[in-house]
Amino acid sequence: MLNLTPFILLAPLVGFVALGLFGRALPRAVIAVIGCGVVLIGFALAVADLISMLGVAPAQRVSDVTLWTWITAGTFHVPFGLLSDPLSAVMLLVVTGVGFLIHVYSIGYMEGDPGFWRFFAFLNFFVFAMTLLVAADNFLFLLVGWAGVGLASFLLIGFWYTRASAAAAARKAFVVNVIGDFGLLIAIFLLFGAYHGALDYRTVLGIGSAQAVAPTSVAPGGVLLAIALTLFVAAAAKSAQLPLHVWLPDAMEGPTPVSALIHAATMVTAGVYLVARAHSLFTAAPTSLVVVAVVAGATAFFAATIACVQNDIKRILAYSTMSQLGYMFMGEAAGGFSSGIFHLVTHAFFKALLFMCAGAVIHALGGEQDIRKMGGLRERLAGTFWLFVVSGLALAAIFPFAGFWSKDAILGAILQRATTGGAGWYALYAVGLLTAGLTGFYIFRLIFVTFFGAYRGAPVAAAHGGGHAAGGRAGDPLAGLHLPGLALMAPMWVLGALSLVGGALDLPGSQLLSDFLAPAAPSAIELTSALFWVSLAAGLICALVGIAIAWSRYGQGQAPAGDEARVGALVVFLRRRWFVDDLYEGAIVRPILALSRGLRFGVEDDTLEAGSRGLGDAVGSLSAGLRGLQTGFLRNYTLTLFLGAVVILVYFIAVSQ
């Protein structure tokens, strides 16, 4: 079996180094070719790996290459090694495939930006770090990739770094992600103790190992639970689950391709990948899966409620992403690890597309992101509109779009778990259905308000190049509309097709994906069971009800301006994001800073002064002779010290004899 993984990592790394060092001096076309080309090479290699993997028996689909010994310390020995197995193969295809499409989209989206070279350098770096994250064969290099994608996120959220809000959002994202890194570090320390210094997946997770050691035989239950929960802290921070989600909405300060690539399709799903990868550790500590279920269910619902009242087109999608990530974790908590990964894949298609459509709208309107100032764009941006509808239907999980199959696989897994697990799992299922309804509502509220009715915004300034302005009559506020070019539209059409047919990856009866993933990520439900069909129907009905409510309120393109007046406190509560951000500011950030200042005045200043005060007179007399200190003081000091030494030495020698 082929293992080209090192080269899949190398390609984007080469792109990053080349563009980072020389990009400033290169013409845009060259930058675009390098930036997109290296990711395309990565994708081609990942496809080659997959084909080769499909050619061998399922039990032999694991291959490991060790590149060099990273560190040694006593019993602790960590090589830098890369793993190729079905789970990493799927992740690599998503990262390089969707990543490549978004790189192409970026050529159009960032064409006028002076930091064009820097943007592609950072995107390439992200792809490198993300491929490392999913291909590492041990927890330490997982952490290296984990922190690397956090850095890429920081660089790209703060891409327009002279905007104070972008710089602040980048910092917030980084610091919250470091909380996740902390969780991963503690998990690694605990694994080090439990597995006598081993951190590789083969030993710890039994991947590719014939005689896998059951976690319950190496560590007591309390330690296993602590390992699973600290891993989940890392997953929650990266995947924006409560209460570590606060960075994701702010991350929308970054350019839209970044939101599509990092904050929708790939990086934020790293937590879902981690739970699937380490599923043997989670299932060995069943309490941890209950925690995952509660956090994920709460996040899915919480984020969906907020998405219902946001007016910033990208923030609606950001909350939607949080909510969908919650779904993925819910599926995993119920034991449907392959369902979580299935939804991760389809979500990468349709959520990347949703962001790209939003980007096309923002681009067309010269930077406007407030849906209240949109409306009536259906005819002018017809292609974008239809793609928005396709991806919206996929998100809302309407038959036969991709999200329908993957989300309902998750709901089915929960229902299956509930038949043996009891009332709590039925409650989780109910939350899943309710959130499905909210999803249908918020995404079609977005589509109706943006594309239906009449245009409500200010006249759009003429297109920059003049090359692809919409033209039209005098007095038309949309005369200056910047129509999306081929670089924007081509990747969108590809993703549109995938959003439509992506469900075919794991249809009832064929089960391509779950069979392929079975050794790496087990599934919880037979997709042909009666239970699954019941679940499909229930999910579909909820989504349709949500869409119907959205139609009744916004179907004529009504602006959502009057919401506060009508619903009052509830909408305010949702607009303030359930006051979670305020809670952070008031209960964590301010107290830490206040404590630090208190220590400065109460402890530090005293400590700094103690040198002079504590030694009192010595300082007084010395300061008097300050001006002559180069000569007098030092000589005397040295002399005294040596004389003292000699006296003491002579004394001790005399005593000891």
Partner: protein, 514 residues
């Protein structure tokens, strides 16, 4: 002795070079200093392949009789513990001298400045190489003189105050250590019934009686706690780091503070292992408090040089914690982190100096948007800042990870609390980086003037700055990706320390074992 005395040359080349610098013409002094530092670094680097990595124990040993009736001998030797510190000292001295270009323009005093920098480097090489405890002490005291004068004569407005405080703190610590040195020789020789000796291998062989370990531990740790800036013995450090010229701070924080950690590993851990374990709760607690406390102080510092002083102290606490974990991971982490911390903190102080040289102030609130004009300085700054906050893949991560891991393995509360520092560390480093380089440009004040070109063109990195920063940044990457370069050669020394400390009672007394 037919062998070329390479260790003596490494120690005395800078010291002799210092004397020559005083006699040179003013304009030649800077170049001379760089040349001497470069040769010293080359010799230290040459030792790395020449030293047998597998073998424990001293190599290239040199002995000379010197006051044998007092048990004092001139004895030098190198092993895995000191090997990389010699190169670190050579490198940081070299880049600090290169970055001392502004000081080199200061007229007559340049000769004194260069001579003192070289003297300091020679004394530190002596500390790292001495295998006689009294010789160690002499070099230890010799470091104080140039360090004090560099702060007191070439520092900022409050230099006299900072220098006096520095001397007072270190002198009190040193005096206690001196008493400890002599008491150590007396106790060991009388216990074993041999003549007075301070030869380190002999002391190790004879062992220190458990009853005396506690008091000796405290005497030596007094000096080492002060010099490493362990909380709450750090009172001298923020003032000295802020007032000293940045290249001097780079050497003091980057190398001199490491002599204290080196002393803990070379003398305290193998000679007083019982006391090490007894006092772990005390020193471990102080280290953890310091790690978090200094991080919080860095978070609210407004002067970015003071911010860096706290950054340095916080990370030094991590190294101390690694030492006191007394297992292979903790000690290995401490040894390589000494090198990594030295590289990073020196780079940070040099970058701070580059910023201050262009704008003229250090108050963070006055800054913003400098990356628009200084992209290369911003890039160097970002890489160094990421290394400092412990980004996995860059050099600091390997060392701190091992130190945290070692501590966690001994006691998860200490290890867990210390590891928490990664969160404020990310916060304060990005606050510093973004505060200077990103955000909106200030509308008035020195940065606005500089951006508008009111006081000449705002130039990106000059060639001296390139030259000083490139080796440091290259090492930040290299040692992050291939930390086994270090750990492979420090492994034997680490094992030796771990083994020594696992002998709970010294062999000289004799026990029934068990």
């Amino acid at each position: 002795m037919t062998q070329f005395p390479i260790l003596s040359v490494i120690v005395f080349l800078p010291i002799v070079g210092a004397l020559i610098a005083l006699a040179l013409p003013r304009r030649a002094a800077w170049g001379w200093g760089i040349l001497v530092a470069l040769v010293d670094l080359a010799l230290a680097l040459a030792l790395i392949p020449l030293t047998q990595s597998g073998g424990a124990g001293y190599q290239f040993v040199e002995h000379a009789r010197w006051l044998p009736e007092l048990g004092i001998g001139y004895a030098l030797g190198v092993d895995g513990l000191s090997l990389f510190l010699l190169s670190l000292n050579g490198l940081i001295t070299l880049v600090a001298l290169i970055a001392s270009w502004p000081q080199a323009q200061s007229g007559d005093r340049v000769r004194g400045y260069i001579a003192l920098m070289l003297l300091l480097a020679g004394a530190m090489q002596g500390v790292f190489l001495a295998t006689n405890v009294f010789l160690f002490y002499i070099f230890w005291e010799l470091m104080l003189v140039p360090a004090y004068l560099l702060v007191g004569m070439f520092g900022g407005p409050r230099r006299a105050y900072a220098a006096i405080k520095f001397v007072l703190y270190t002198a009190v610590g040193s005096l206690l250590m001196l008493i400890g040195v002599i008491w150590l020789g007396v106790v060991v020789s009388s216990n074993a019934g041999v003549s007075f000796t301070l030869d380190l291998p002999t002391l190790l062989r004879l062992g220190v009686p458990v009853s005396a370990q506690g008091i000796l531990f405290l005497a030596f740790m007094a000096a080492f706690a002060v010099k490493s800036g362990l909380f709450p013995f750090h009172g001298w450090a923020p003032d000295a780091y802020v007032e000293a010229p940045a290249p001097v701070t780079a050497v003091v924080a980057g190398v001199m503070a490491k002599t204290a950690i080196y002393g803990m590993l070379r003398i305290v851990a193998p000679l007083f292992p019982v006391a090490m374990r007894t006092y772990f709760p005390l020193i471990g607690t102080l280290a953890v408090i310091g790690i978090l406390y200094f991080a919080l102080q860095a978070l609210i510092s407004t002067d970015f040089k003071r911010l860096l002083a706290y950054v340095s102290l916080s990370h030094m606490g991590v190294i101390v914690l690694g030492v006191f974990a007394l297992n292979a991971q903790g000690i290995q982490g401490a040894i390589i982190q000494m090198v990594n911390h030295g590289i990073i903190i020196a780079a940070l102080f040099l970058i701070a100096a580059a910023i201050e040289a262009r704008i003229g102030v250090r108050r963070l609130a006055e800054f913003g948007a400098l990356a628009t004009r200084l992209p290369w300085l911003a890039t160097a700054f970002l890489i160094t800042a990421l290394a400092a906050l412990g980004l996995p893949g860059l050099n600091s991560f390997a060392g701190e990870f091992l130190a945290f891991l070692g501590a966690f393995h001994v006691n998860w509360v200490y290890g867990g609390l210390a590891t928490l520092v990664v969160i404020p560390a990310a916060w304060y480093m990005l606050r510093f980086f973004q505060g200077v380089m990103e955000g909106a440009a200030p509308e008035s004040g020195p940065v606005a003037k500089a951006l508008a070109g009111a006081s000449g063109k705002l130039a990106d990195l000059r060639w001296q700055e390139w030259l000083a920063l490139i080796p440091l940044i290259a090492l930040i990457f290299y040692l992050g990706i291939f930390p086994a370069t270090l750990t492979g050669r420090t492994e034997a020394a680490t094992q030796q320390i771990v083994t020594a400390t696992q002998q709970v009672t010294p062999p000289a007394i004799g026990t029934t074992g068990g």
